[in-house]
C-alpha cells in the first residue's frame, strides 16, 4: 500500500516535471540581436530588428544570416507584436545585444521605451544602449558590413570603444540606476552613418539629463577626458595634443599618449556660494607617438608634461561648460552632496542649481614611459 502510494506520487511528479507549459524550442524562436527605435509621423514608434538565423546548405556548414524586419505601433510591445506577424516564429528578445535610439526619440523620456526591457523577465539587461545621430533604423538596415552581420559589427564596435575609454560602459541596467537618481546623470554612446560611405562610426557621447537626451554630444576626445575625470577608465585612454608650432602642420607637431594610470579626487567646498567643486585628475602617461623629438633627456619629459597639463586642464574647463549647459551631472555631485553634505543638499534645488555651481577641474600629466625607443 505504502509503496503503491509512493509510486503514484512519483508518476504524478514526473508527469508534471516535463514543463510542457513553458517549453520554448530554440529552433522555432526567432532570436533578435539588435533593436532600433525611431519616432515617425503622429508620434508612432518604429521598431526595426535584426533577427539571426542560419541557413544550412545541404551537408555543408550553416552560414549565419540576418533578417531585417520593421513595424510601427504605439508602444514598444505593440511594434513587437506587429513584427511577430511578419516572421515565422515567436519573437524572442532574450538575446538582444544593443538598443539604438533615434535622435528625436532620445529627446523624449527614454524610460518609457525601455520599460518593457525592465519588466519582462526574459529580456537581456546587459544589452548596450546607444543614440543614433539621425534615424536609428538606417544603421540596422545596412544589414551586413563586409561579411560581418550588422548586429555583430555594432556590438564589437561598442565593446572596443568601451575598452578605449571612448564611451561609457553603460547597459540598460546601469542607466536605470541613474534615471531613478536625481543626483546622478548618465551619458550614452552616439553613433552615426559616416557621410557618403555606408559605414557606422562613433560620433561621441550623448549627454543625458534625467531621462532625456539634452541634445549635446561630446567629441570622442572630450568623452575620454570625461570618463577619466569620472574615474571610469578602462584599458586604454589615448589623447593627441599639439605641442609645437612649426609653420607647416605635420605630425611632427603632435604627441599621442596613453593614460596608463588615472587618479581622481573630487572635493566639494560647501562654504562657498555658489558651491565650488574641484576635481583633480592625475595622469601617468605613456607616450605612444612623438615623431619630432627624443624624450630621454632630463627636463624634456617634464616640459612636455607641463604642456600637456595646461592643454588638458583647458580642455577640461571647456568640457565642464558643456556639461553644465546640458545640465548633465555626470560626476554624481548631487549624489555626493546627499551622502556627505545632506544639509547643503536640502537647501539646493539641484535641477537649477547644478548649472550655476563652480566646477574647477585640474589635470596633471606626468610622463612615465615612452615605448621601446627613446
Amino acid at each position: 500500500m505504502k509503496r503503491l502510494l509512493l509510486l503514484l506520487i512519483a508518476v504524478c511528479t514526473l508527469s508534471i516535471t516535463t514543463g510542457c507549459w513553458d517549453r520554448q524550442l530554440l529552433k522555432n524562436t526567432r532570436l533578435v540581436y539588435g533593436v532600433s527605435l525611431d519616432k515617425v509621423q503622429n508620434n508612432h514608434l518604429l521598431t526595426t530588428v535584426s533577427i539571426h538565423s542560419s541557413i544550412s546548405s545541404r551537408g555543408g556548414p550553416s552560414s549565419p544570416t540576418n533578417d531585417i524586419v520593421s513595424s510601427r505601433g504605439d508602444t514598444v510591445h505593440e511594434t513587437r507584436r506587429n513584427i511577430e506577424r511578419k516572421i515565422s516564429g515567436p519573437f524572442s528578445a532574450s538575446k538582444t545585444q544593443f538598443v539604438l535610439l533615434g535622435n528625436e526619440l532620445a529627446k523624449d523620456n527614454i524610460y518609457g521605451l525601455l520599460d518593457i526591457f525592465y519588466r519582462d523577465p526574459r529580456s537581456q539587461l546587459g544589452a548596450r544602449v546607444a543614440v543614433v545621430d539621425g534615424r536609428a533604423e538606417d544603421i540596422i538596415k545596412l544589414k551586413t558590413k563586409e561579411e560581418t552581420l550588422i548586429d555583430e559589427y555594432i556590438w564589437q564596435l561598442i565593446k572596443t570603444e568601451e575598452q578605449n575609454t571612448a564611451i561609457p560602459a553603460s547597459t540598460i541596467q546601469t542607466i536605470c540606476s541613474n534615471m531613478f537618481d536625481s543626483g546622478h546623470d548618465f551619458a550614452l554612446p552616439q553613433l552615426r552613418i559616416s557621410p557618403g560611405k555606408k559605414r557606422v562610426e562613433l560620433a561621441g557621447t550623448a549627454l543625458f539629463h534625467g531621462k532625456q537626451f539634452s541634445g549635446i554630444t561630446l567629441s570622442p576626445s572630450d568623452s575620454t577626458l570625461l570618463l577619466l575625470l569620472a574615474d571610469q577608465k578602462k584599458k586604454f585612454a589615448h589623447f593627441t595634443k599639439k605641442v609645437k608650432n612649426s609653420k607647416k602642420e605635420t605630425p611632427f607637431d603632435y604627441v599621442t599618449f596613453n593614460a596608463k594610470k588615472a587618479k581622481v579626487r573630487m572635493n566639494i567646498d560647501t562654504n562657498q556660494t555658489p558651491l565650488k567643486v574641484s576635481i583633480h585628475l592625475n595622469i601617468k602617461a605613456v607616450i605612444n607617438e612623438y615623431p619630432s623629438d627624443r624624450i630621454n633627456r632630463k627636463g624634456r619629459e617634464k616640459a612636455l608634461g607641463k604642456k600637456l597639463t595646461a592643454q588638458l586642464t583647458e580642455q577640461a574647463n571647456a568640457l565642464m561648460t558643456k556639461l553644465q549647459k546640458a545640465n548633465c551631472d555626470y560626476f554624481g555631485i548631487g549624489r555626493e552632496l546627499m551622502a556627505y553634505h545632506p544639509d547643503t543638499w536640502k537647501k539646493l534645488r539641484w535641477e537649477t542649481a547644478y548649472r550655476n555651481i563652480r566646477l574647477e577641474p585640474k589635470v596633471n600629466v606626468d610622463i612615465v614611459g615612452y615605448g621601446i625607443i627613446d
Binding site: T13, G19, W21, Q173, T174, F180, H184
Partner: protein, 366 residues
C-alpha cells in the same frame, strides 16, 4: 518524548534553524526594508536579528524547564488540557499558515521569473509532494537534509559578491538618514524572512544533551542567518539607487539578471535553482512542526498521519490568493500574528510556569 534514533546533535540544530529561517522571504527582504528605511534597511535587518535573539532567550528559558517535552507536550501541564488543546491547534494552524505563505511566495516568484505560463497549482504540487516526502520522516533525517543543503549558501554568497563590480556606497549614506523610527518600523517588515527560530519550541526535546549548549547553537544559527540577510540587503542597497529599489520587488534576482558571463548568461536562473532548495527546507520544517502539533492532538503523537492533510492545507492556502495584492495582504497578516506565537504566548507560558511552579520532574535514576 524523544526516542533514541530520532535525536539531533547541536550542530544539526544550528543548521535546522538556519535553514528554517532562510527561505523565500529573503528574496524580497531588501525591497521590504527599503520601502520604509531606504538606505538604512540593513540596520533594520540587524535590529530584527537582535530582537530575535531576545526571543530565543525567552523560548530557551521556557523549554529548559521541560527538557524532554515539546511545546505541545508541556502546555497541558501549565494551562490544563482543554486550553492546551486549543493552543496546540492554534500553533498547528500558524505553522500551516507560514508553510502556505512559503509555498505562495515560492510559486509566485517562479511564476513571475521563469515559468510564466505554467499554472501555479503545478508548481505548488511539486513542492507539496517533496514536502510530504521529507516531512513524514523523523527529525534526524530532516536535519541531515538541512545540513547538506546549507553548503549551497556559499554559492549564494559567491554570486552576491559578483555585484560588487557595480556598487555605489553613497546610496546608503549618510547612515541613519531615515530616522530611528523608520528603521524600527522597517525591521518589522523584515520579520517574515527571519521567522523560523520558533521551531525550537517543538524540537527542543530532540536535541542531544540539551541541558547546556542549546542556547549557543541557536545563537550561532541566528547569527549566521542575520549576517547573511544583512549582507544581501546591504549589497542590494548599494547596487540599486534609492528610488530604483522601490520598484523592484526581488532585488537579489534583478541584480543577478543584469550580469552576463560567457558561460552562464542568466545568473538569476542559476541562483533561483539553488534558492528553490532553501524554500523546500523552510517548507519542510514548517510542515513538520505543524504535523507534530496535529499528530499530538489527533494521532497519539504520530505526526506521519497528519503530514498529508497539513500539506494539502498549505497547498490550498497558497492557491487561494489570485492577485499580488491578496498575496501581500496574506503575508502581512501572517507576519503580524506570528508575534503572538513566538513571543507573547511563550512569555505567558514562562511566567505561568514560574508562578504555578510547574517544572518537569527529574528522573531519580538518571
Amino acid at each position: 518524548m524523544a526516542t533514541k534514533n530520532s535525536t539531533i546533535t547541536q550542530g544539526q540544530l544550528t543548521f535546522f534553524i538556519f535553514q528554517t529561517q532562510i527561505g523565500v522571504g529573503l528574496l524580497s527582504l531588501p525591497f521590504a526594508v527599503a520601502k520604509i528605511a531606504h538606505g538604512d534597511g540593513w540596520i533594520s535587518t540587524l535590529l530584527i536579528g537582535f530582537f530575535i535573539q531576545l526571543c530565543i532567550f525567552l523560548i530557551w528559558a521556557l523549554n529548559r524547564r521541560f527538557p524532554t517535552l515539546s511545546l505541545y507536550e508541556f502546555m497541558p501541564q501549565i494551562i490544563g488540557k482543554p486550553v492546551a488543546f486549543f493552543f496546540t491547534l492554534l500553533y498547528s494552524l500558524y505553522f500551516i499558515g507560514i508553510g502556505g505563505v512559503v509555498l505562495l511566495l515560492f510559486s509566485n516568484i517562479i511564476n513571475n521569473w521563469v515559468f510564466d505560463v505554467t499554472p501555479r497549482w503545478a508548481l505548488i504540487l511539486l513542492m507539496v509532494s517533496a514536502g510530504i516526502y521529507l516531512a513524514r520522516e523523523n527529525i534526524r533525517i530532516i536535519a541531515r537534509f538541512h545540513v547538506f543543503i546549507s553548503f549551497f549558501a556559499f554559492i549564494l554568497i559567491f554570486l552576491a559578491c559578483m555585484a560588487y563590480a557595480h556598487i555605489d556606497i553613497r546610496y546608503i549614506l549618510p547612515i541613519g538618514h531615515s530616522g530611528a523610527l523608520n528603521i524600527i518600523k522597517a525591521s518589522s517588515e523584515a520579520l517574515l524572512s527571519m521567522l523560523g527560530f520558533e521551531a525550537l519550541l517543538v524540537i527542543f526535546p530532540y536535541v542531544e544533551n540539551n541541558e547546556k549548549g542549546v542556547l549557543k547553537a541557536m545563537s550561532i544559527a541566528n547569527l549566521i542567518a542575520t549576517s547573511l540577510s544583512t549582507f544581501l540587503v546591504f549589497t542590494c542597497l548599494i547596487v540599486f539607487s534609492p528610488q530604483e529599489i522601490l520598484v523592484i520587488p526581488q532585488p537579489m534576482l534583478y541584480m543577478l539578471k543584469s550580469f552576463t558571463f560567457t558561460v552562464i548568461e542568466r545568473l538569476d536562473l542559476f541562483f533561483l535553482s539553488i534558492w528553490i532548495t532553501f524554500a523546500v527546507t523552510s517548507f519542510v520544517s514548517y510542515l513538520y512542526l505543524a504535523s507534530k502539533g496535529l499528530g499530538y492532538a489527533f494521532h497519539k503523537n504520530r505526526h506521519k498521519n497528519a503530514v498529508w492533510y497539513a500539506a494539502i492545507a498549505c497547498g490550498f492556502i497558497a492557491l487561494y490568493p489570485d492577485s499580488q495584492l491578496a498575496i501581500n495582504r496574506l503575508a502581512f497578516f501572517i507576519t503580524r500574528t506570528s508575534f503572538a506565537f513566538f513571543a507573547a504566548i511563550p512569555l505567558t507560558l514562562l511566567l505561568l510556569s514560574h508562578v504555578l511552579r510547574k517544572k518537569e520532574r527529574k528522573d531519580t535514576a538518571s
